[in-house]
Symmetry: C2
Subunit: 251 residues, 2 copies
């Protein structure tokens, strides 16, 4: 057992190759000129593989690293003193997890693999050091964090202003476009998360999520069997998300 741990520690700082990674146009390398890419590779560690349900980190873990999803997907959530969970995001390959934790000693949230998932690990002290030397990378980090704030603000807007149907339509469209950016079908995909996670993320009850799914299905907007989803009428979905705003104007 002690040996196993030792072995893990010793083998953990395995160098990852950003040069060969297919995600280099989505992930951090995107911000770095080719000739500096080695310097990022020098600090990246090949993370291990997590099975569905395994924690990458939780709120009691000391904050050491940010993680880029390599394959699979991750959900992050915060858990209140009382044990209440709020899902704060879903992360797909190429996306960076842990940015919200940059302000403290421990992680600010909990990250859990939604399926078999592999990650790359960026030790934060080394990453900060590097961003101090590569202005483009620093700029990119600011951009990513700014984007993260915006996402969260959008979520707040969704939660406080929109109906169940609007929230779910928004999520489906968001997932769709993110799948598409990863060269996967934007109309035919498999949800990485359970209904429960969707419900929690969107501030709804599971039953409500389920009902809206069947309602959309009956309207011929989507087709859903379990986690398999097919968007049959994207425009209709977009219309649902905007319906609310429209009311402000006409009529």
């Amino acid at each position: 057992m002690a040996q196993a741990i030792r072995f893990r520690q010793a083998s953990s700082p395995l160098k990852a190759s950003c040069h060969q990674c297919s995600l280099s146009n989505l992930c951090l390398p995107l911000a770095i000129p080719d000739n500096d890419l080695d310097r990022l590779e020098d600090i990246v560690q090949q993370g291990r593989i997590y099975n569905r349900g395994e924690h990458i980190f939780d709120q009691s873990t000391p904050f050491r690293s940010c993680f880029a999803v390599k394959s699979g997907s991750i959900k992050t959530s915060i858990i209140s003193e009382g044990g209440e969970e709020q899902v704060t995001g879903f992360f797909m390959p190429g996306e960076l997890v842990g940015l919200d934790s940059m302000s403290g000693e421990s992680y600010a949230s909990t990250a859990k693999a939604l399926e078999r998932t592999s990650v790359c690990e960026f030790p934060i002290n080394k990453l900060e050091e590097l961003t101090g030397k590569l202005p483009e990378l620093q700029h990119h980090m600011y951009q990513l964090m700014g984007q993260e704030i915006q996402n969260s603000h959008q979520l707040a807007m969704l939660l406080s202003k929109n109906t169940a149907e609007e929230r779910i339509a928004s999520l489906l469209l968001s997932l769709s476009s993110r799948f598409q950016r990863r060269r996967m079908s934007g109309t035919n995909f498999s949800l990485p998360m359970a209904r429960n996670d969707i419900a929690n993320f969107l501030g709804l009850a599971v039953e409500t999520v389920s009902r809206v799914f069947t309602r959309f299905q009956n309207q011929g907007i989507i087709r859903a069997r379990g986690r398999e989803v097919e968007l049959l009428d994207v425009e209709a979905l977009q219309l649902v998300t905007r319906e609310f705003s429209r009311q402000g104007f006409q009529q």
Copy 2:
């Protein structure tokens, strides 16, 4: 008119003195060793004074600068295509506004003075350049942005899980502790924002906010006349915010 504008531009890069600023223990200087403080002063611009209701920036303004509140207070909000507003934050002296905009060409939100307010302006290109040279400052920026993400996640949790009473109690306690950190009374203060802003921020109707205020007042927890608020029983307020979480455990 043209002259006035010229005059403004010429006089605008007025140097602010961080050395003498009373907020140096809250604001950016907090992260900088004394002997480097000059370098921050070199890039800060003394911003102008805004009257209640004036915009510091909005979503159509090209993103150039972050602003530190010097006196007064600011609310930020995002406005959807349909014109729906979601208040995303209230900012007090020493706090930095505009971090959510670090990812785009234009500001991601709109900032409005809630009262007569003065600010310091940090041009973003110069700030980035400086954080590249001062690791402590870079670290602090990451911390601030991480904190901003966390705040927003907390808001999402509040919006999706908590009752009207819990939301308002949370806001009052948050304001209280922030006033206190600024050496003002934490139990006797004047709300900088209107009921409307509170309602919007917390995802409630104005009427609900009003009702909860009077309910708290009848219970002897607070005393409120207009914007003047007195917290009579802070523990009771804390209890309200935790009531919800408790239910998860006992009984």
